[in-house]
């Protein structure tokens, strides 16, 4: 086995036994980057000198690829946008500081949809990322670089972010485990904001156990992010010992299965996953989340509205691109933003500005927030009756580059991941099989209640053990 194929647990064991050093491990990732990145395009930049220096400082360190919207001191942080070309972070995000204190080091910056807006990484303003299982297909998004790096063994594990499915859908497309933590579980300080009532950082890894180890390092209260409560962080990996499906109440919601646009092979794989859980001793519970059909509409009001406010900071004044053609301050704003942002970001800023504008606020944003309450109540009621929901993760396997041209069609990729994001609960994507026609990987989604990550990971781990071969 090559060093770059290792996951976190195996890498730590090898380091502990002295089979290789942290520098050798990091160098193996760098060599793999040189061998494969031209083909896959997972990374935007890789500061080899910094990664090796950090590996020399900490002989226990495991390198982790970082999505290009998380600040690492001295590194670029472009959010895959031309507007941040040349930007260098002055400080480490809290998740980076937390990683370093848990023997992880940032190594390489991976591609994404610009400002995390998209489901294929095709909205990156800086480069193309390809699916390691078929390079004519997308890796998913927005954390497509993270997923391609994990799925293609270009890293040990990666950090992604998830606003409406941006960890889980690419994890499904690239055969990796992705965990979207509950809202507030992980600090966003130093993570460029897209939609602040939804954004979460989470692990993308080669196994559930790896994701659990990394999540324990990332999570916890941070006084720099007022949304992170003082809830202690369990040793998630330790809580996986003895994980079983026996007696677990798995909720099956018809709203996630009888859906137009659900690929028959994804449906088959998800149905089989349900049967495997039942055969392993899980109790299936029929639940209903009646407001599911409104989740997409709520999301495409709330997320653009918050994005339009968050992205107002990119104005060419203090950092980022400044137009050379601006005669006054007004045109400095309008031209710098016009030149720096790509089409999807512009669309969402306009959409968000529209739904917040005078006369429309109550009909759109105000009403969407109330429907969001009803969506959250659906989850509260479901989790009174079951431990975890099992649903499809993405409605299709990875599609071809350039295949989806209409924005609204692209948005439908997040049909199954958006409701849990709106509810603020935690969810995972776990590899479940390969589609028969496309031969592409397909993951299933597990969803648990807020701050119930230990249970989510145990159920995910139990499924990983019974799902069969997915290599």
């Amino acid at each position: 086995m090559e060093l770059y194929e290792l996951g976190i647990k195996a890498a730590r064991e090898g380091l502990a036994k002295g089979e290789f050093s942290s520098v050798e491990l990091t160098q193996a990732i760098i060599d793999r980057f040189h061998a494969k990145n031209a083909e896959i395009g997972a990374y935007l930049t890789f500061d080899e000198g910094q990664a090796l220096a950090l590996a020399r400082e900490n002989p226990k360190a495991v390198p982790i690829a970082v999505k290009d919207l998380i600040n690492v001191a001295g590194q670029p942080c472009t959010c895959a946008s031309k507007i941040l070309n040349g930007y260098v972070s002055p400080y480490d995000a809290t998740v980076i500081r937390n990683m370093k204190s848990h023997d992880f080091i940032p190594a390489g910056r991976v591609n994404m949809d610009e400002f995390a807006m998209g489901s294929s990484t095709e909205n990156s303003g800086l480069g193309v990322t390809r699916n390691p299982y078929d390079t004519d297909r997308v890796p998913g998004g927005s954390s497509g670089g993270s997923a391609a790096a994990v799925g293609g063994n270009l890293c040990i594990a990666a950090l992604g972010t998830d606003t409406g499915g941006s960890i889980r859908q690419p994890a499904s497309f690239c055969n990796c485990v992705g965990v979207k933590p509950s809202y507030g579980r992980v600090s966003r300080y130093g993570v460029t904001a897209f939609a602040s009532s939804l954004d979460q950082v989470g692990p993308m890894a080669k196994s559930v156990e790896d994701a659990a180890i990394l999540l324990s390092a990332l999570a916890g209260h941070d006084e720099m992010d007022g949304t992170t409560p003082r809830v202690s962080v369990p040793d998630y990996a330790a809580s996986l010992v003895g994980a079983t499906m026996k007696g677990v109440r798995i909720g099956i919601a018809k709203e996630y299965f009888d859906v137009r646009g659900l690929d028959p092979e994804v449906r088959r794989i998800t149905d089989e996953a349900v049967k495997k859980c039942e055969a392993a001793g899980a109790e299936l519970v029929e639940v209903s989340l009646p407001h599911t059909e409104y989740a997409m509409a709520v999301y495409y009001i709330v997320a653009p509205a918050e994005a339009s406010a968050n992205l107002a900071r990119f104005d060419g004044v203090r950092y980022g691109h400044r137009s050379a053609g601006a005669a006054d301050v007004y045109s400095l704003y309008t031209k710098s933003r016009a030149e720096g942002f790509g089409p999807e970001v512009k669309r969402r800023i306009i959409m968000g500005t529209y739904v917040l504008s005078s006369g429309y606020y109550d009909a759109y944003y105000g009403r969407a927030q109330k429907v969001r309450t009803l969506i959250k109540r659906d989850f509260d009621e479901a989790f009174a009756r079951c431990d975890a929901l099992l649903t499809p993760c993405a409605p299709t396997p990875a599609f071809r580059l350039g295949e989806l041209q209409d924005p609204l069609t692209m948005y439908l990729n997040d049909l199954f991941t958006i409701p849990s994001s709106l509810a603020g609960v935690c969810a995972s994507s776990v590899p479940a099989g390969f589609s028969g026609d496309t031969k592409m990987p397909v993951g299933v989604q597990f969803v648990c209640g807020a701050f119930d990550e230990a249970k989510l990971l145990r159920v995910s781990k139990a499924f990983e053990e019974i799902r069969g071969n997915v290599v």
């Binding site: 400080y91 509409a297 709520v298």
Partner: protein, 96 residues
């Protein structure tokens, strides 16, 4: 629903070409038509959900702490003069 894309883009301080307006107009109207689905839902008496979880104010002691040094904060400035960001003239009649 007819959206005045040019006007909304102005509110967002975003200059659009005529070509972009022509592309965005039907796309945005399509998206708005889709999200209007929420008007079907009865929200009488429902409290709005402002955030991903129920929030309480997060307080801390009001004390002086180290922060980013001026040089680090200015390092990414497109244009600067001394310890200040340099902009085109804002106030009429003032020195630029």
């Amino acid at each position: 629903m007819k959206i005045d894309v040019g006007y909304v883009a102005e509110l967002a301080r975003l200059e659009l070409t005529d070509e972009e307006k022509a592309v965005f107009q039907p796309q945005l109207e399509n998206i708005v038509k889709y999200v209007e689905k929420i008007s079907e839902v009865d929200v009488e008496g429902v409290e709005p959900m402002m955030h991903g979880r129920t929030l309480v104010n997060a307080f801390r002691e009001d004390e002086v702490r180290p922060s980013l040094a001026a040089e680090a904060a200015l390092a990414n400035a497109p244009k600067r003069v001394g310890d200040e960001f340099l902009l085109p003239k804002i106030v009429e009649g003032a020195e630029s």
